[in-house]
Amino acid sequence: MSGSTGISRFLPSGKTLVIAIPVIWLLVFFLIPFAVVFKLSLSEAAIARPPYLPIMEWDEEGILTFALNISNYFYLLEDDLYLSAYLQSMRIAFISTALCLLIAYPMSLAIARATPAKRNLLLMLVILPFWTSFLLRVYAWIGILKTNGLLNNSLMWLGLIDQPLAIMQTDIAVYIGVVYTYLPFMILPLYTSLVKQDGALLEAAADLGARPVAAFFSVTFPLSFPGMAAGCLLVFIPVVGEFVIPALLGGPDTLMIGKVLWSEFFSNRDWPVASAVATVMLVVLVVPIMLLRLAQQADEVQA
């Protein structure tokens, strides 16, 4: 009797302990840090180590004083740089997401409709670049796009152009780099939602007299919405904060918010402003992140 209560008392607490391990780790190293960022965005920059003033302080009379200041946020509003960097990041993320979708859709459909043996090979070909260094794949584009790079040399050799095209250090180079690196993130969820579609639906549409194109738009395309939504958000959200691609391929005009945050932090050493930039970015991205959860849940329900 006492033995069984001993065990039953032990079991739930053991379970709770196991649950507590990942929950506590992520609370401490993922969620709480955001609170620290928010707190720091309300303090004042100073030449000190670390370079900011504390929010709370005990003054000489032993009274706790708070020095909250929202001036960092006003600063973001006053200087055009930040607003245009946010807008440009959103625009670049939006256009590259659309381009990724345009390129990934026919590819995913072709993979989903290939024979099973071919399908695995093609999927591996999609995943393989994802496993090789992201930094080095972006670097490869410098060699291709620069003034005397592979692309310009080939086009001039073919006689298609006489002057090298100035692609490197422009927004076009950033678009190419972003679409290139994030394409697998679009293909994989799209492929997953396309491959599990019931082929009988298309046959039924054909039997009822729908042409392939009509059948595609009335059956295949609407059924792939959850996969499309998941893919678009998987590309859009990280691209908004992208740093490496605009830093390596973009020019001085390419203002992306990830690059602005980086230089606030590393060049200007203004930690409070960098924190305010990060807080605003997080607020902007909360809605897309929640939409992503919804899209993934819809996908699970459909499966």
Partner: protein, 271 residues
């Protein structure tokens, strides 16, 4: 029908061309004798020789390798626990919280993750004196945190595919949950654990942004070194390094695919 099929085939072929041209050009020009990376002079392996004599790159590579191995292992343990808890423990109080916290790092912009962790480490040092300074340890904690999310996704997918009849049967026969985990669950999800670890290792080895934020003097990882070199211009030595990394990864992925293929064949023979 035929016309549409050829449209699909052509666009898929162009898509794959787009994915592979940069990688192939990296490899081809690593064997170029000329210092001008994109002008072909003649075949040479001299950049590989220079790479192997570059102590700075070798040190950074060794540092990245150690960080990758330790954080991938820690991420494997934490990510597997998280996947198991979410997939097998039914409903519990903090489930929604855990689901959110495990999926958000997958899309969180790296600049935000990097900055927030650095500020946490600074605040922790001020409050408890740990971690003292930043470098090796702080990079490992940061990498473990974002890699465990990827491990959890991979393991969760495997757990969802596997039916839990055997687990339940073992429980009915009186096996403890711990025993069931070691004897049944673990062997079944082993391929997912291997690919989860490899994915975590690759992500850690590749990370520039988060490591730059949470690193300190004396801890320069390979991506940090590559980034500083690449900013100064293209060098064939980096091409040689890239080719070696691509070679290792290709062998690794093919070996993992072969192991998965073998185990599925074995499973079919057994049943």
């Amino acid at each position: 029908m035929n016309k549409r099929l050829s449209f699909l085939t052509i666009s898929a072929a162009l898509g794959f061309l787009f994915l592979y041209v940069p990688i192939i050009s990296l490899i081809v020009f690593s064997f170029n004798e000329s210092k001008l990376v994109t002008v072909w002079s003649h075949f040479s392996t001299k950049w590989y020789g220079e790479l192997l004599n570059d102590a700075q790159i070798l040190n950074a590579a060794w540092m990245s390798f150690k960080i990758g191995a330790i954080s991938a292992t820690a991420a494997l343990v934490l990510g597997t626990i998280a996947a198991l808890v979410l997939q097998r423990f039914g409903r519990f109080k903090s489930k929604t919280l855990l689901t959110g916290m495990i999926s958000a790092p997958l899309v969180m912009p790296e600049v935000i993750t990097g900055l927030s962790l650095l500020l946490l480490f600074v605040a922790m040092e001020a409050a408890f004196g740990w971690p003292a300074g930043r470098g090796f340890t702080t990079i490992i904690i940061a990498h473990t945190t974002f890699c465990m999310a990827f491990v959890a996704v991979v393991v969760q997918a495997r757990l969802a595919d596997m039916d839990n009849d055997q687990e339940e049967a073992a429980m009915d026969l009186g096996a403890t949950p711990v025993r069931v985990f070691w004897d049944i669950t673990l062997p079944t999800i082993a391929p997912a654990l291997v690919s989860g670890w490899l994915l975590a290792f690759t992500l850690s080895l590749d990370d520039l942004v988060i490591a730059s934020f949470v690193s300190g003097p004396g801890a320069t990882t390979l991506p940090m070194l590559i980034f500083s070199k690449v900013r100064l211009g293209v060098t064939p030595e980096i091409n040689a390094l890239a080719s070696l990394m691509i070679l290792v990864v290709t062998i690794g992925v093919m070996a993992a695919a072969w192991v998965a293929h073998r185990s599925s064949v074995k499973a079919k023979e057994l049943s």
